[in-house]
Amino acid sequence: MSVAAPSDGKWVGQSLPRVEDAALLTGRGRYIDDLPVAPGTLHAAILRSPHGHATIEAIDVARALALPGVAAVITGDDVKRYGSSMVVGVKAPLDCWPIAIDKVRYFGEPVAVVVAESRYIAEDALDRIDVRYVPLPAVIDPVAALEEDAPVLHERLGRNLVSERAFRYGDPEAAFAAAPHRIAIDVRYPRNACTPIETYGVIAEYDPGLDGYDVTANFQGPFSIHAVMARALKVPGNRLRLRTPPDSGGSFGVKQGIFPYVVLVAIAARVAGRPVKWIEDRLEHLMGSVTATNRAVTLAAAVEADGRITALDWDQVEDTGAHLRAPEPATLYRMHGNMTGAYAIRNVAIRNRVVLTNKMPTGLNRGFGGPQVYFALERLVHRIATTLKLDPLDVIRRNLIPAEAFPYRTATGALYDSGNYQEAIAAAVQDGGLADLIARRDAARAEGRIYGIGYTAAVEPSVSNMGYITAVLTPEERTKAGPKNGAQASATISLDAVGSVSVHVSSTPQGQGHRTVLAQVVADAFGLTPADVRVVTEVDTSRDAWSIASGNYSSRFAPAVAGAARIAAERLRAKLAAIAAKQLDADLEDIRFDKGRVHAGDPERSLAFGRIASTSHWAPGELPQGIEHAIRETAFWTPPELTAPDAQDNVNSSLCHGFIFDFCGVEIDRETAAVRIDKYVTMHDCGRILHPGMVAGQVTGGFAHAVGAALLEETAYAPDGSLESGTLADYLIPTVMETPEPLILHYESPSPFTPLGAKGVGEGNCMSTPACIANAVADALGIEDVTLPIRSSVLAEHLHGPEPEPLRPPRVAPPAPATKAGERVLTGEGEAVVVAPRQQVWNMLLDPDVLMSIIPGAHGVEKVSETKFTADVTLGVGPVKSRYSADIELSDLDEPNGVTLTGGTQGALGFGKGSGRITLTETEKGGTRIGYTYQAAIGGKVASIGGRLLDGAARVVIGQFFEALARKAGGGSGRLHVPGFVKRLLAMIGIAR
């Protein structure tokens, strides 16, 4: 059947207003928390670990269950009964549960789930669950986690290294031996997360008759995870109906990580026997969703005198946090075909290690593996230029893949579809005004200002090969497991009884405007307007066409899903054309679809599109021969290029490869060391552009994420595993004030591998921009190493040199820094003078009655033995008030000269342990000088959400103690001067840090 091509480009390529917007702008969006729920639906809240690493000795839920309105409390035991460990992507004895079983391995790990009539009551009940933990040393650094004596997270595994693979392409050893230079760089890519403004949400119900689950969640895919969830729930895939809401408040990969909570809430619903709804709150999100991986990389290059790179040697240590959650270690392998970036480098050695640490598990995040790779590679290119005193742009240019080489097979196996990097760069240099920027830098420097320029070139992969992750297995293991490959995309187009057009896809948009673009694509095919086409994007796995590759990730919408829709539309159009030809009594090849009508060359002699399109409903007997129906057409599309990794570990990890070239100018304030992005130019080749407005939106949005990663954002952990960035006041997302507008340029080289010629575009700046800004900062300050996120306080030390000493010793010496690995230790010392004689002070310190009266908020101090006390105390700083239990033990008693106190405390807001030595000496006036040194470790909730305030809060509580002691001991001499003691006692009596 031959049919004329649709009137291409009529709607596609235009920046139409989005069909999504009217609802979203008027408050009529339907996000998960807006959906109606079944009568009787209960609400879940999750108790989470306050420790980075601890064994669970006991969980007592009785008081929680006794609270009116509480229906059930679910712990690891229930999850073990109804579920199984989630599949792990490597061959290792490793469990992965959605809730702590016997031990907790990261701060924020779920420990229990309360299901109650309201979220308020559920949270009330959380406060009534008593968990006995035995804290363990934690390890948060991936390199330290590899050491022999590092704390082990998973005992069955026996170590923290879960996967190690070495790869070799070409002859890297020979290339290094032959090259005049070996230039290397060590970098750490930090933890950060794309942090959508809408959090996770799950509504789950269990049907015992079906033995099946019905779950609605703002999951974003990939739907390969559906198989993981079904297995974890111990049901076949057809007994897990997974639905997504019509709207989702952003994801950027992150909502892939909801799946353990789908399993958890589903089991909670089963235990409770009622539908259960859980909306994650922001604190939960910051401690227990997913982040991107942090990575330690050593990258060396064999370099010719002119800067040409002949070989790369990668050593990557990937930190996936406390568990290896599906699809990890995909972050490490997503870029495997792209380890040479935009450069023609034929010799590559790669050593990949994956380790576990006491941090939140990782998962999809915008850029997925790209930021980690390009921060190393493009910082290295900058280093090569400075080392060899070359222009960094020249080094980039000399190494680019030649334009005539496309499609180009990289050393590691990717097939780059199209591009002309040289021309794209030339256009960027010209249209982006590089010459002016260089003049601007020179002028600034002449004025004594600090100004630098950075460059990056990057290849942005899109449409992931579902098989790339199997590169973590050896070729033998892969053979055994069977091949994995492809990137199935699907689209269904239906025609109803009046011939109106509906499109269903499983692309789970997270705000990108899929409905608009699909309406454009399909309208073009049928000669309709986009308004005529209804697009439905909410997914129902029990009804819709989907595959494991469905979902919203690897920038696959434009290249894959929109293409599948086009294919479905073409198939349906071909049938409609045949129907029209018969009804119009015309030749098939003359049939045109235009302006809502179908004609055969003469618009005067035409039929309404709806008339043709409804024929299969009303008059199937009139259909031409060979046409069964033209009611519904589902197209699946997967590119043949995406083959499985081969026996030599060649990995074609993605289908499309866009190109990015960025340059920027930054100025650093000489006084404050604040970094200001003065100008940012980003050139993109994303193939054919389907909707310029949305492409611009993807670029500026990705750029903003990258600015955050470069300058502000870090999911930070203390050495003991406590989270330090537990609120949005400490996890710093850029605002409009910190986000400049980049100049966006385009160079179009359509992909020959995708139906519409489009490539992905949404992730590129997350890959290129952090490195580009870091290169500019390095250029500005003439420094070698730049640590992300770039902090003014670090730059300032470089800028300001040695610090001026004070004339007099400061009034209070700063405390010694914490040092011991695995523990965040606070130390300090100080003294106080009281009027009472030494013996009296000694007696007071050992007298429970006196202690009761001077420990702030003590409800009862009990002497367990001569040297052991327990206390129940309420401590408060400002409005922050809570109750703690404390144990204090005295040792090294040297009456009346000194005593050592060791103790621990635990309460809803936090816990602490510490020890201190108190020494008593007589003053000349017959009073007593109390000297003290202490060390303390504090963690828990307050540490993660009030870190900024804890030091001082601790001092306040200790101050209260000393004021009371001084009053009791006959009055101190004026205001007590006790800034530090706080901590020791605090740690002892409870409040935190």
């Binding site: 207003p17 979203l24 702008l25 996000y31 922001r282 705000g511 903003a704 609120t727 006041a729």
Partner: protein
Amino acid sequence: MPRLSADRRHPVTLNLNGRTVRGEAEPRMSLTDFLRHEIGATGTHVGCEHGVCGACTVLIDGQTARACLALAVQVDGSDVKTVEGLEEEPGRLGVIQEAFREHHGLQCGFCTPGFLMTLDALFRERPDADEDLIRETLSGHLCRCTGYAPIVRAALAARDWLRDGETDHA
């Protein structure tokens, strides 16, 4: 007013977008929960519940406020305006909304109602707001999708339309 006890729900009345609405709330219930789950006005979104992200911004007695930082009982008897009250008439977007649509000032739309409410208040008070003031005022909102540039463009366009009295902007 009598002391409202913690363990009971108490009547709360608002003038919401020009109409009187009644519901019940425990003293601890936030205005966001009251609007969304008692009244059913789900256009106001919850992003952080600790006053940083700005997604839940509404107008209370004409002034911007984070609805997550207000209790329903505190607001009893007040005028509250939410995103549902911005349409000029049903089916016809208000000027700021229209500017956001035209300039692609939104993607996922989750933070958008907050931005709209802040701009609604700003332009009422400062029809002449310049870009610096607009940026400064919008800095109380987080958006993860757009990179802000399209939002600023939409805000500038809305200001101009409002100032020039153009009603036929669409």
